[in-house]
Symmetry: D3
Subunit: 158 residues, 6 copies
């Protein structure tokens, strides 16, 4: 199987999914941002008290999931049925992880939606903390798990 | 300096930049996607012959730069004056790097725009290759360089 | 029943509707704007002759209905099957009423779509008349009626 | 002064502001939503503990401010320099008030932006609470204050 | 049959399609841009070597297809299942033709989507070549073929 | 002068306009749609009485002008200062003409904005009349006049 998003002439196409079955599908994606200690503590304190970075980043990620087909040129528009985003903090590595779960009853999967949600949530964390640390790095944005659809289930070995 | 995107009550705000000077600013961001050998070769061959993954991903990234303020909740809308995106291929590590350069004559910097451009370009590469490899990982999205504005120049030690 | 748009940890989520049935649903929302006499007469004359405020406001409202899921963070994207907006004028109270009817064959209701349509239509009236009256007030935006879906029918006592 | 958003033939136009001076402008708009006691208490408790309705509604309102020119047909696109949204709770009347402040350095005022921010923030509160109360009413969306620009300052008598 | 997009009072409406059957539908639209010889040769050479005008224009057209309901006020939002855009060059007439094919499984047809895709693709060609020729003309944007839906098949006599 | 929207490697770029002067610029574009007699008369009667096709199409065109940079990948975002759209009817040729005038005080011209406004206005006419005539053709979308900017004035010989 080669690059599916091109026709036989090499032109980009939005792949024809007319004949695919409508099934229930789910995808989970994750990613991390590494920050310095000052940022890590500010985020931790803000979430507990005031200045809820994750609250803003979660809304940004959820809204971005709904914009996926307007950002990724060859993605299909999908009637998303669920979006959730969770954050986890790792004090040893000074990393913050975002995990985005998306569900749909549709003709194609929601991997790109979950990845876009993670990516936008982490970029929003970056934005809100960039005055304190310009060296933050977003890393390991990846598909964690998917189910449903013809290509079957996938679970990443960690 | 703490989290600048919250007011004294802890509420998220779009920071007041009314009194900031309009200056020429530039930001460069980079990021990589690690793929398997099959994808690496398909992308390499497609770019040379037919099936230009980078052509599509570049347009996606440029358009996303212009959508930054609609994706990142507290970003200001900026009259971008230049966007360019380049791709580099690393055969040893099977990585593809995207580098996005953004310029503006405005009151705030364009770091988030450059990071959003890189992120969307790499997600588009992911989308177009995901039928061949579900284990691709996007990594090391980071600010490479910025100039202009009150906080001065920044260049990342690599 | 508490706040349904948060998970057990208190995080905002787009509620999972995967298992809900696809049914025909309708919602009607209304709202009013109170204007001064000069505006009232200008709108009345314009509609009859030239300067059709309602024509512009109706288009704005219809287009906003389709943008609801991009404005209201936790709303689902829905394949709207009908939108109509009507205006009524009340000379005694100098009020203009907008009523928006939305239909869908989908998994969730269209209350938010109807309310967003009314709200945007009235904001557009405000915009077009604000040079004549800065004291206009938008009031009583409310759900008038809904049908379909598990929560059944609703009709507001007026 | 009649309806300024139509030309002499009665056609809607985006008014020519080419020759207007770029000045610093500010607008403050407010509005309220009346809820039942159950919703009032859920919102109050959620904000204090978990389930932060205002956190989500504030982000929605800020993002909507940036979309104003895409919602209100004849509005100009403006380089907004500040957006803030605050909420106030009135236990006697079971009302929640949203107040949105917008600033710009531009050729036209930001009244519509502030009103759109308030309106979207209140619609988001409605969305998040509608499972508990379908009878909520949004009321008294109005310009509270504006400054800057040729038409001078305005402050509403309350 | 008169103008279907107005109700009996003459108000614009998004037509009620609630009761229409979900069927497989396809539409093909075409259009041309006439350019001068210099542009024609630059596009031809660029496509073969470097500077792929059609690559950019194709992505623009595909993305515009997904935006149709946000551009054309009374269009329904549709879950597009396929989009493809092809370009043809006519050296005698110095014309470039764009042909856009759209498929959907839905309640209304995709004529407007195909026409919007063609139109945006040709505007993008214009944009990329306008420094060389301001006299380019876009012409003959038309429906070429449609199938599916109650109104049956259509094929244009050329 | 070759294709300005590619860099020396042949990659599409949003051209750097950082150093261009901010000047007052205007562009006028026109285009026509040819319809059958039944449509022509329905549009003519609707405009005069009820069913105002041009009212809807004008709003669509004005809103599309503001979306130009989101449709045409390499266009700059511009702070448009004026948009107007007029329609003219030609009974002999059964053609309807749309003319869009756009002004800006900015670093690049507004040709693409004017062309996008015309194109979207005509597509909207098509949409509202397509139940009566599938053979309508949009033709002769072209720049009529531009002024301001380094490349100077342009006026098309008709």
């Amino acid at each position: 199987m080669g690059l599916t998003h091109f026709d036989e002439k090499g032109n980009a196409v939005m792949v024809d999914v007319t004949d695919k079955a409508i099934t229930e599908r789910e995808a989970v994606a994750g990613g991390r941002i590494r920050v310095n200690r000052k940022v890590y503590e500010a985020v931790e304190n803000g979430t507990a008290k005031k200045g809820d970075v994750f609250g803003v980043a979660r809304v940004a990620g959820i809204m971005a999931v709904k914009q996926t087909a307007n950002l990724i040129p060859l993605c299909h528009v999908l009637p998303i049925t669920k979006v959730g985003i969770e954050f986890f903090m790792y004090p040893e590595s000074l990393e913050i992880e975002a995990v985005c779960t998306v569900k749909v009853t549709g003709k194609t999967g929601v991997e790109m939606e979950a990845l876009t949600g993670v990516s936008t949530a982490l970029l929003t964390v970056y934005d809100m903390c960039k005055a304190m640390d310009k060296g933050m790095t977003i890393r390991d944005i990846r598909l964690v798990r998917k189910s449903g659809g013809k290509s079957g289930n996938y679970e990443r070995q960690l």
